[in-house]
Symmetry: C2
Subunit: 328 residues, 2 copies
Amino acid sequence: MREETVAIGALRLDCGQTLAAAEQCVTIYGTPTADGSNVVLVEHALTGSSRAADWWPGIVGEGALFDPREWCVVGINALGSCYGSTRTSHRITVRDIVRAEMRALHELGFERVELAIGGSLGGMRALQWALDAPERVGAAVVVGAHDHHSAMGIALNSLQREALALDPVRGLRLARKLAMLSYKSEDLFNERHGRRSDRQGRPCFDVEGYLDRQAALFEARMDAASYVALTHAMDSFDVRAGEVFLQLGGTRKPALTFVGITADWLFRPQDVRRAAQRFALRGFDAQYIELRSHHGHDAFLAEPAALRALLEPLISTPVTADIRSSLC
Amino acid sequence: MREETVAIGALRLDCGQTLAAAEQCVTIYGTPTADGSNVVLVEHALTGSSRAADWWPGIVGEGALFDPREWCVVGINALGSCYGSTRTSHRITVRDIVRAEMRALHELGFERVELAIGGSLGGMRALQWALDAPERVGAAVVVGAHDHHSAMGIALNSLQREALALDPVRGLRLARKLAMLSYKSEDLFNERHGRRSDRQGRPCFDVEGYLDRQAALFEARMDAASYVALTHAMDSFDVRAGEVFLQLGGTRKPALTFVGITADWLFRPQDVRRAAQRFALRGFDAQYIELRSHHGHDAFLAEPAALRALLEPLISTPVTADIRSSLC
């Protein structure tokens, strides 16, 4: 594993502003083959980092789906995040984030990735890669995300930013708690917490104690400005417009796999399925598969074994086959 | 219509505290018949008032389901609310709220109500009436509520109280916005707001503008202390325990109608149905019916015509038939 901070120079943003000297934090696990056919780009979600093996065990790491002994896994921290890439107070988009990533990968000599994969905001980023640089992406796997952010998703992010604006510390905690509600399902909460009292004996319900602990963990590792920047980027995401497809023209289109999660109410499985259908109608080799989980949205993090089992049949080891054809 | 503030004396609360001199604000529409068989108790939800005709058009008022020319509709403001009844900083329960209501109705000469009806917290109150005073209630209609508050419901209320604690004014606005998300459905938001820009031209999404307007309306009519008291009361609600039923013994049990709302994710229809089944298993004449609406939880307020159409066949005018038998 090696970590690099890559200078990518001035970066023009969709909002019209320019970042003078942007940097991207990249973590690389394993070694690329000569033809680069074992390179996987792993895109983190709202609060993740380039260290994919840290937050996606079962998917990245020794013995995992993408084992660095076979694969070269490239993790990259999103522009605006607080995990090593350039932070900004400008409004950024998922396209800005991906534009910065393309530059960084180019600087590092990765002209093409066989697979781009991510969940939630990471799924949006993987999809944006496939649309903005189809010649540089073999296939994309979009987990618990689809082709736009919904009104409910926007509203949830907006309320989280409003909490931050009330108080930088307690507001961040409140924002995380609200996010956790949208990442979990009612069935999971009923099963795990129900109406039981706090397990530490405080005068509250267990679910409140759980959210308190989650918020405390979060406070130690995230900052408000990054949270604002990245939730705005999510809100801006919508690749349903025709021009996205027109610009692709006759180029080979990356294969797309959309993974819906049954109990996800932030990115509902029926919406993920519809997105796959929209891409198929536009001539993409797009498929929909489903992760059965009662966890809710963050099943892609909370149930790595189930996700791995779902993805494994789709992904051949780089030695034996071309990923593109196995994903078709 | 007449409004009365009824002194109910000292009120012992479930928390062990006693309110020295409690009052209940009551609004009465129409006139009770000599035998009292036309009396309907209408219970408001979290932020309602005793003036049922104001917030439940189509259900209460001239030409409505409960027309004061035939029915005597009794609206009563919940203990702890800011609409005329005694407010308190003590932790109160739905049982406390109903205990105060029973006293007030007794003071006013209403020894029995043919029907108790309400939605959300109002549904909890109606159900609590049926369980705590079965001899005083002919039937109860519980809309968009069931027999306990879920972990997700508790979490949502907890986060709203946390917002209030951050800032009494902006926190109340944020709490209302969060509540609105739980009252509406994703499908409704997609249809009404989608990803459109704010209709007033501000640099935000339409759904954010909508929530802003809702919050501003709310700020003018609710206070934080009442919000805290009544959300705690909701959180405390759970009438699934055996003792509730044991205490009923061999007394005649009120008929119970549970109304689930198809797109409600705060009180999911499958949970409302299960509650009806639990009561049926306990020997109640309990039925489940469903309000088909894509609004979400507050369809009981937002779609009064549909609710009326659903309830009308179940409710005979007091002149022609006994409500109890018609509800069976």
